[in-house]
């Protein structure tokens, strides 16, 4: 039973409790206010940020890469395609927790030489490729151990494959992992970190066409990167297939004939500029770099072999005697000589009585020589004299009309600019004034002048077409209606001079004293040609006899002369210009010329079919 005192105490207790409750509540009220403010901030003020953040969490874009465009020849022969390889990957987020599985993978499944790749990124959603291009044996072992390899997954990827392997290596080129520099200028979306990109050749030049545009699949993922569903899909734009003007048979012959020797062959149609064969030797198997084939890329090659170096467009060689028809043509044009002008070739040329002796290749000389004989027998002395009379200014001006000293603009990367020296060029690059002696050397294509095989082909085609040079091209595109692009047009005063030069070039083969008479066949195709022997070890400055110079110093293969042969045929209406260069091949006629002849003949057969 309660009494009044109790009630009073109760009343006091309640009052005290309420007072103290207010104090406690005051403390908690701070937290209440803070929470409500923060919730308001999250859901109202910063809502947009968090929505974006939440979308970023769950939605990822997976690029869909179109398979790379095919490269074919006109007859439909496929020379670059894509093949499927089986690869093994793991999700980046599972890497840490799958150490045991990786142990099994590397111990029991993969070949011994496979090494664990260092993951480049730690991004959770990224796939880490553990092994590329599994062999059938590895695949079988994978299937066997599949149950204990739940996190390690099998994936497929497309690899570039060239069925003809080495044959088109210097034309097609290869792909390679993209570098960070390359990525800078490209869209990050099209080229993820581990993507491949054309590194040289057609693959690089027409990378954009061959690549197509990347599509995307927008998918929803959970925190482990597992796909929940596809939200949207934008299909990739299929890339274009590329058709090349090359001819399989010509290409094969050119490669076989070079037989691995260092050298290059360029064959083009002078009427269109279309390249029919382009071979640089030695070559390599692009499939190994593309990751579609295994093997040793280069077998202990010496530095000089340089199998990746495209000699056909990047090799700089002295044009040597191949320049003689051009110098002769200039002489005729400038009226310094005519067809019957005769020079006494005694084996050497001297500017002054007691001056330096510029030796011809034939010790005793060619005797009385006119222009025709000078080209047919390749008299050096005739052209020493002619060049000295022409002066360098006229020579370089005239040669530049034929494309000497410039790039042909062929649709390949790394074309070298050949050198066509002028007075200013020498002053700028050598730091010396031009001497008449320099001009004399230019007269036989030696000295400062250099040419690339493709440039020589372009220049020679001017003679074949009587002055019209088409831009050399590999790709036959559907778009620009096959209309060949004119590169240069050479105008000369007297059109008959063309015939005169061509006649001499035919005689190089057909005449008994021609330097390439070994090609002559009675009922054979009429071919115009010019041999060349490019000195690389110049011994002019030393007082050596011709015999010493020509026979004594050839122990070292690297010092031997380059064999050159420039030709076109059949005359009249030539349809193929062929330039052959065999490094250290010594004899243009014996080594280089037969290759050219075979190509011209095969081209005739091709056209007849």
């Amino acid at each position: 039973m309660r009494n009044i005192q109790d009630l009073k105490k109760d009343e006091q207790d309640v009052l005290s409790l309420k007072r103290r409750s207010k104090v406690v509540f005051a403390f908690l009220f701070i937290l209440i206010l803070a929470s409500i403010f923060k919730i308001f901030q999250l859901t109202v003020l910063e809502r947009v940020n968090y929505s974006v953040e939440s979308e970023k969490n769950r939605i990822i874009e997976v690029p869909i890469f179109p398979s790379r465009g095919l490269i074919t020849l006109e007859d439909g022969t496929i020379i670059a395609e894509n093949i499927v390889t089986q690869d093994i990957f793991i999700q980046g987020s599972l890497l840490e927790s799958s150490k045991d599985q990786l142990d099994i993978l590397y111990r029991d499944v993969l070949d011994l030489e496979r090494k664990f790749p260092v993951p480049q990124t730690t991004k959770q959603n990224q796939k880490i490729w553990l092994a590329r291009d599994l062999s059938s044996k590895e695949l079988a072992k994978y299937e066997f151990h599949k149950n204990s390899l739940s996190n390690v997954k099998l994936g497929i990827s497309l690899r570039r494959y060239l069925p003809h392997k080495n044959l088109f290596s210097h034309v097609i080129g290869h792909l390679g992992p993209i570098t960070s520099d390359e990525r800078l200028s490209l869209s990050k979306k099209d080229y993820p970190v581990d993507s491949f990109i054309g590194k040289v050749g057609i693959e690089k030049v027409y990378e954009k066409l061959l690549k197509g545009s990347v599509g995307k699949s927008i998918i929803e993922v959970d925190v482990y990167g597992n796909k929940i569903r596809e939200i949207e899909r934008i299909d990739p734009e299929r890339p274009q297939n590329i058709t090349l003007s090359l001819n399989l048979k010509l290409q094969k012959i050119a490669r076989e004939e070079l037989g691995g020797r260092r050298g290059a062959v360029v064959a083009l149609d002078p009427n269109t500029g279309m390249i029919k064969a382009l071979v640089s030797s030695p070559d390599y198997n692009p499939n190994i770099l593309n990751g579609s084939e295994k093997g040793i890329l280069v077998k202990n090659s010496s530095k000089e072999e340089a199998p990746f170096f495209n000699r056909a467009i990047s090799g700089s060689y002295p044009p040597a005697s191949i320049i003689k028809p051009f110098i002769g043509l200039l002489g005729l044009e400038e009226n310094i000589i005519n067809e019957s002008t005769i020079i006494e070739d005694v084996g050497f040329f001297q500017l002054k009585e007691d001056g330096r002796k510029y030796r011809g290749w034939k010790e005793d000389g060619h005797g009385r020589v006119n222009l025709n004989k000078a080209i047919v027998e390749s008299s050096d002395v005739y052209f020493y004299q002619l060049a000295s009379q022409l002066t360098i200014d006229r020579i370089s001006n005239f040669l530049s009309k034929f494309g000497f000293g410039m790039m042909s603009g062929i649709d390949l990367y790394n074309e070298s600019k050949s050198i066509l020296p002028t007075r200013n060029w020498k002053l700028g690059n050598i730091g010396e004034a031009w001497f008449v002696g320099d001009t004399i050397n230019i007269g036989i294509g030696q000295g400062y002048i250099t040419s690339t095989p493709i440039q020589l082909a372009v220049s020679i085609s001017a003679i074949a077409t009587r002055g019209t040079i088409f831009r050399p091209k590999l790709i036959i595109s559907n778009q620009d209606s096959k209309k060949p692009e004119i590169f240069k047009k050479v105008q000369i005063g007297n059109e008959k001079h063309w015939d005169s030069i061509e006649k001499s070039m035919i005689s190089v083969i057909n005449s008994w004293n021609g330097t390439a008479h070994n090609l002559y066949e009675e009922d054979g195709i009429l071919i115009a040609g010019k041999t060349g022997t490019a000195q690389i070890k110049s011994l002019v400055d030393q007082e050596l006899t011709v015999r010493e110079e020509y026979e004594g110093v050839r122990q070292n293969i690297q010092d031997r002369d380059h064999a050159l042969f420039a030709s076109y045929g059949p005359v009249p209406n030539p349809n193929l210009v062929v330039i052959v260069i065999v490094e250290n091949g010594e004899s243009g006629s014996a080594v280089a010329a037969p290759i050219a002849k075979k190509l011209i003949e095969q081209n005739q057969i091709n056209l007849a079919e």
Binding site: R2, I4, L7, D10, D13, V14, S16, L17, K18, R20, S21, V23, V24, F25, L28, L31, I32, A34, S35, K38, I39, F40, L42, T43, V44, E46, R47, N49, Y50, S51, E53, S54, E55, N57, R58, E220, V221, D222, V223, Y224, I228
Partner: protein, 374 residues
């Protein structure tokens, strides 16, 4: 003879509104309905946040069901009849805390769990509510005024529990256990000169406590100050939780449509972080409605408390009311990133049988303070 005091404050109230079996059984219908709606809402949220696991919802429903029966049972007991049991339940709690330290369940890095095979629980979840009740029972065991020494024994009892939890080690829960012990002591009328002594000694002890913290505990405190310290640990959890709530906006993404929780970006979404799921799927509106119901519950607790007849009942209700509010606040503040991560579930909603049953038991005690009007 009426047992009503002639000087009762509720003098003008009718003695009886007529017999109503529902009012009799549930005692406080508003509180009961609020609890039911929160519990049902909690089960719905659990279904959404557990990856739509029916098994988990059924398991939780069983706890809810038994919890409600326990609550209703206790609500019809006279507080005096179980006061002593409550006081001595302290020793049970203490034993459990010691047991968990000596025989920790395997499979956990900290010794917080007791595993009975078919079900496991954390003693600290029980002690959080048992401690304040037993302390009030202790302080109110006599009719006379509380003696000076009782304040210290009560404080010591709370401190021992907190220390045992701290040794598990679980700093956050230790602080919460200690706070839930101090609230009833303070409400019971702890003299202010003792309050000053306590504050002074706490200030002195602070550097020693910091020195004794484990690395990960320090890390958690530091994480609170800079979310970038450990973006994939606690900081990541908080960031994902904030993203969930923020992206919910005002109306939310819709039930079962929360991408953060459904796609598992939200860690612990069914237990400690279930509030983020509420925010993500129901938005600010849902949060406000939830807060409104919580507010109603707390209002009813204090109403019952201030109208109760005995000091024990008043203290029990107001203490439990504050502790209930405190748990909500700690969980919400943790989830939205204004306090460090501590293991406190959202009362009555988060997954966890122990938490639900102990909370409903506490509501039973609160309801028992309300006299049935027959």
């Amino acid at each position: 003879m009426s047992n009503r005091n002639p000087l009762d404050y509720s003098l003008n109230r009718p003695l009886s509104k007529g017999y109503n079996p529902i009012r009799y059984l549930f005692k406080d219908v508003v509180l009961y309905l609020c609890l039911l709606s929160i519990l049902i809402f909690g089960l719905a949220m659990l279904y959404s946040s557990s990856g739509q696991s029916v098994a988990m919802v059924i398991r939780q429903s069983v706890y809810v069901f038994f919890g409600l029966i326990l609550m209703t049972f206790i609500s019809h007991l006279k507080p005096d009849s179980y006061k002593n049991i409550l006081m001595h339940s302290y020793w049970v709690g203490l034993l459990l805390l010691i047991y968990v330290l000596v025989f920790p369940a395997s499979g956990y890095s900290t010794s917080r769990w007791i595993d009975f095979g078919f079900f496991s629980f954390q003693p600290s979840e029980i002690i959080r509510l048992i401690l304040p009740l037993s302390l009030i029972a202790y302080l109110c065991r006599k009719e006379s005024a509380i003696q000076f020494s009782d304040w210290f024994s009560a404080t010591l009892a709370a401190f021992i529990c907190a220390y045992l939890v701290f040794e598990q080690p679980d700093l956050g829960t230790a602080i919460i256990v200690f706070t839930s012990g101090l609230i009833p002591i303070y409400l019971a009328g702890l003299p202010y000169n003792i309050v000053l002594v306590y504050l002074g000694s706490a200030a002195l002890a602070a550097p020693f406590i910091w020195a004794n913290l484990l690395d990960y505990q320090k890390q958690r405190v530091l994480t609170y100050f800079d979310n970038n310290v450990d973006p994939l640990g606690d900081g990541w959890n908080i960031a994902q939780s904030k993203t969930a709530i923020g992206s919910g906006g005002f109306f939310g993404k819709g039930y079962l449509e929360g991408t953060q929780s459904q796609l598992n970006f939200l860690p612990e979404s069914h237990s400690d972080f279930i509030f983020s799921v509420v925010g993500e799927e129901f938005g600010l509106l849902g949060i406000l409605i939830l807060f409104f119901i919580y507010t109603l519950i707390i209002w009813r607790i204090f109403k019952i408390g201030f109208e109760a007849q005995s000091n024990f009942e008043r203290l029990a209700c107001s203490s439990l009311g504050f502790i209930f509010l405190l748990f909500i606040l700690i969980n919400v503040s943790m989830v939205i990133g204004i306090i460090p991560v501590v293991g406190v579930p959202l009362p009555l909603i988060s997954q966890g049988g122990t938490s639900i049953v102990v909370h409903l038991l506490a509501f039973g005690v609160i309801l028992s303070a309300k006299k049935p009007y027959l």
